[in-house]
Structure formats: structure tokens, C-alpha cells
């Protein structure tokens, strides 16, 4: 097993840990963190596996995809945080009540 593969495995582990947190934790801020960790995991998989090429150059296409992904992630995070704040303002709680998490 080579180094990139270890990072790729780290990626899926981060994805799973994030998923776990998203399901188990109730606070919305935590869920937002969890989504970000999941995203980082996916980015790792994309880029790490791109290092399998024989030449000197790692595959630049996944790099571009990840940069795209990071921007999408920050946009979504900003929106989620604002939404959470508004929700807390209105309902006084940063937890989605009777969240049907049994099926998440």
C-alpha cells in the first residue's frame, strides 16, 4: 500500500466519521461541521487517487474539481449557518425537533 492510497482511505474514513456525526449529533452547527468533514474526505479521495499516474504530473483534473468543491462547500456552509441563525431567532432552538433521524 502506498502513501496516496493511505490518504484515500483516510478520505473515506473522514467521510464516514462525518456521516456518523451528521446522523448522531443534533445541534445544527455540529451537523454543518459534519458536512464539511465529509466534504474534505471526498476531496482527499479525489486528489489522492489522482496521484496514481506514472508521470511526474499528478492529475490536475481532480485538483480543479476539488477547488470547485471547496468553493461550493463554503457557499453551502455560509448559507446553512445563516439559516441556522434565523431559525434560532424564530424558534429559539438550534435543533430540528422531532427530527426523523431514524431514517437518515
Amino acid at each position: 500500500m502506498n502513501i496516496p492510497m493511505i490518504y484515500a482511505l483516510l478520505g473515506i474514513t473522514l467521510f464516514s466519521v462525518g456521516l456518523y456525526g451528521l446522523i448522531v449529533r443534533e445541534h445544527l452547527l455540529r451537523k454543518i461541521l459534519a458536512l464539511n468533514i465529509m466534504g474534505s474526505g471526498i476531496f482527499l479521495v479525489l486528489v489522492a487517487l489522482g496521484k496514481r499516474s506514472v508521470g511526474d504530473l499528478p492529475d490536475p483534473v481532480p485538483h480543479a474539481m476539488v477547488i470547485t468543491g471547496i468553493v461550493v462547500a463554503v457557499s453551502a456552509t455560509a448559507l446553512a449557518l445563516t439559516l441556522m441563525l434565523k431559525l434560532v431567532e424564530v424558534s429559539g432552538s438550534a435543533v430540528l425537533h422531532d427530527a426523523p433521524k431514524e431514517r437518515s
Binding site: I3, M5, I6, Y7, A8, I12, T13, L14, F15, V17, G18, L19, Y20, G21, I23, V24, R25, E26, H27, L29, L33, A34, N36, I37, S40, F43, L44, V47, L49, R52, S53, V54, G55, L57, P58, D59, P60, V61, H63, A64, V66, I67, T68, I70, V71, V72, V74, S75, T77, A78, L79, L81, T82, M84, L85, V88, E89, G92, A94, V95
Partner: protein
């Protein structure tokens, strides 16, 4: 050489374990503030990982956006959250206490987690060890791309259409945030004089760095996203130091800058479409400066959008009452 390889390998392993540990702490620690701090640390380590994976472009983006801006956004959100709730600590703790789950609902997700890791891990390990991906294609077409940095070539030329749509995503996030109406302003303790004077030094530096990243992106790591996020960071600093934006700027000019990136992209796409017969088909000779034009517009928009996202609410202006 051997020793360096081993040392680097150990460093990699250390990074892997640190990241895992941090991720787990971010998810499991009871204190939200701590979780956010750990998350920022996580982001910084991720930037290191990108360096290790020979992805300096991503490393820059991650450091600026992933760790920096996201961290700032999270911190500001927590700050506002605490301002809304009179007893934040207690509330967080109670919500944590309410989470006391029964044993199966504690164990089941963990089992699922392990299963998913094992399944996906098996899938990854059965991938071939060597794969070229699109490296040959990129190499072959680099000469026609108008830039020398392959990542920039992919982002703005080969897959420029993705980037166009991505600019729309960024704008949409802001539109949605504004549509939600204002959020509470940051509490005044953030506007201290030290910060203000620091800003006076840092902001010009950041703007310079941003320009540099934008310019260098054509040949070396850097580009619109990194430049834009540095610019955004400058904006965030200004906002933190209590910078008051002129009322009239908030009407037209701000909106104009916000749509500049996607607007220029769409207009160039349309013009190229009608002159060259293809969406975003740059003539090879003009590709270089067209990309620079697009990147400049995108940098401004990204910077403005990120700062505006950090600001949260819609700036008070006559247009939206």
C-alpha cells in the same frame, strides 16, 4: 534519500492519525467552541496534506477558504448564536445531555460507520495501482490552453463551464442568505483598536497578495479562487474591525461587483458562442488574456461575495428597505 522517504512516510502517517483524531473530536466534543477551533486546526492540517499530495493550488485554497474563511464564518455564527441565547453554555450542555441515546442507537451508527469504511475501503483497494486519468489529455492540450498552470487550464479552459456554474453557486448562496434577511450584528467586543490598527497593515498586504496570486495563477499555483478568497479575507478583517461601508456603495456598486464574475463569464461565453460557434471556445491566441480577464472579474466577485457572506445579513440599503 531513504531516510527522507521514511521520515516523510512517518510524517504522512502522523498527519493521517492527527486528522482522524481531530475529526473525531470535532464530532464528539461537547463544547461547540472547542469543536470549531479543532475544525480550523483540521483545515490547516488538510492544507498540509494537499502539499504532500502535490496539490499546491488546493493547499492555498484550503488554507484561505477551508480553514480561514470557514473558520471565521463558524466563529461568527457561534458568536451570534450565543448572543441570541441568554445562557449559551448551559443550552449547549443541555442539548448535549438530551442527546443521551439508548445503547442500540449509540452502537448501530458506529457499526454502520465501520461497515461503510470497510466497504468503501475494499472498493478503493481494488482500484488498479496505476491509472493516468486525464493526465495525457491535459498534457496534449496544454499548449492550446493559454496558460501554463494545468489546474488553471482545467478550471478556466478545459472545464471552464463548471467554473461558470460554480460562480453561480457562490452568488446563489449569497442571494439565499440575503433573502433570509438580516442576522444579528457581531457583538461589539470584536471591534477593538488593536484589531483596527492591525487591519490597516494587513489589508493592503492581503490585497497585494491577492493580486499576486491572480497574476501568478497562469503559470504557477494560484488563481482566481485563491486570490478571491484572500481578498475575501481582507474584507472579513475590515468588517471585523468595524469598517462602515458607505451607503451608496451598497446599492449599485456592490451588486455590480457581486455579479461581475458570473456576468463576465456569461457574456464572454455568449460572445464566443456567437463568434466562434462554441460555448467558451477561446481562440488559442486570445485564450491567455481572456482567462486573465475572467479571473480578474471572478476574483473581485469571489472576494466581495465571501465578505458579504461573512457579514451575513443584507446590508441596509434603500433598494430592499
Amino acid at each position: 534519500m531513504e531516510a527522507i522517504d521514511i521520515a516523510l512516510g512517518l510524517f504522512d502517517l502522523l498527519l493521517v492519525f492527527l486528522l482522524l483524531w481531530l475529526a473525531w473530536l470535532v464530532m464528539s466534543s461537547e463544547d461547540l467552541f472547542k469543536a470549531i477551533v479543532l475544525f480550523v486546526a483540521f483545515g490547516l492540517l488538510m492544507a498540509l496534506v494537499w502539499v504532500r499530495l502535490e496539490a499546491p493550488d488546493i493547499a492555498l485554497a484550503e488554507a484561505a477558504i477551508g480553514a480561514g474563511l470557514t473558520g471565521a464564518l463558524l466563529m461568527a455564527a457561534l458568536d451570534r448564536l450565543n448572543a441570541v441565547k441568554p445562557m449559551p453554555a448551559a443550552a449547549v450542555v443541555t442539548s448535549a445531555k438530551r442527546e443521551q441515546p439508548s445503547l442500540p442507537s449509540k452502537v448501530l451508527p458506529l457499526v454502520a460507520l465501520v461497515l461503510i469504511v470497510l466497504g468503501l475501503g475494499y472498493a478503493l483497494l481494488s482500484l488498479p495501482d496505476v491509472a493516468d486519468g486525464l493526465v495525457p489529455n491535459v498534457k496534449e492540450q496544454m499548449a492550446q490552453s493559454g496558460v501554463k498552470n494545468p489546474v488553471t487550464a482545467v478550471l478556466l479552459n478545459f472545464r471552464g463551464y463548471d467554473t461558470l456554474l460554480e460562480m453561480v453557486v457562490l452568488l446563489l448562496a449569497l442571494l439565499s442568505v440575503w433573502s433570509l434577511g438580516g442576522v444579528r450584528k457581531l457583538s461589539p467586543r470584536n471591534t477593538n483598536p488593536v484589531l483596527a490598527s492591525l487591519c490597516r497593515v494587513l489589508v493592503p498586504v492581503l490585497i497585494l497578495v491577492s493580486c499576486y496570486l491572480l497574476w501568478v495563477g497562469a503559470d504557477a499555483p494560484g488563481g482566481a479562487f485563491q486570490a478571491g478568497s484572500v481578498l475575501g479575507a481582507a474584507g472579513v478583517l475590515l468588517l471585523l474591525s468595524g469598517w462602515h461601508v458607505e451607503q451608496k456603495i451598497l446599492l449599485w456598486p456592490l451588486r455590480f461587483i457581486l455579479v461581475l464574475g458570473s456576468g463576465v463569464f456569461i457574456i464572454i461565453a455568449a460572445v464566443l458562442f456567437f463568434t466562434q460557434g462554441g460555448l467558451l471556445t477561446y481562440p488559442v491566441a486570445q485564450a491567455g488574456w481572456l482567462i486573465l480577464l475572467l479571473e480578474s472579474a471572478a476574483t473581485l466577485s469571489i472576494g466581495a461575495t465571501l465578505a458579504a457572506l461573512f457579514f451575513g445579513g443584507i446590508p441596509k440599503s434603500r433598494v430592499d428597505q
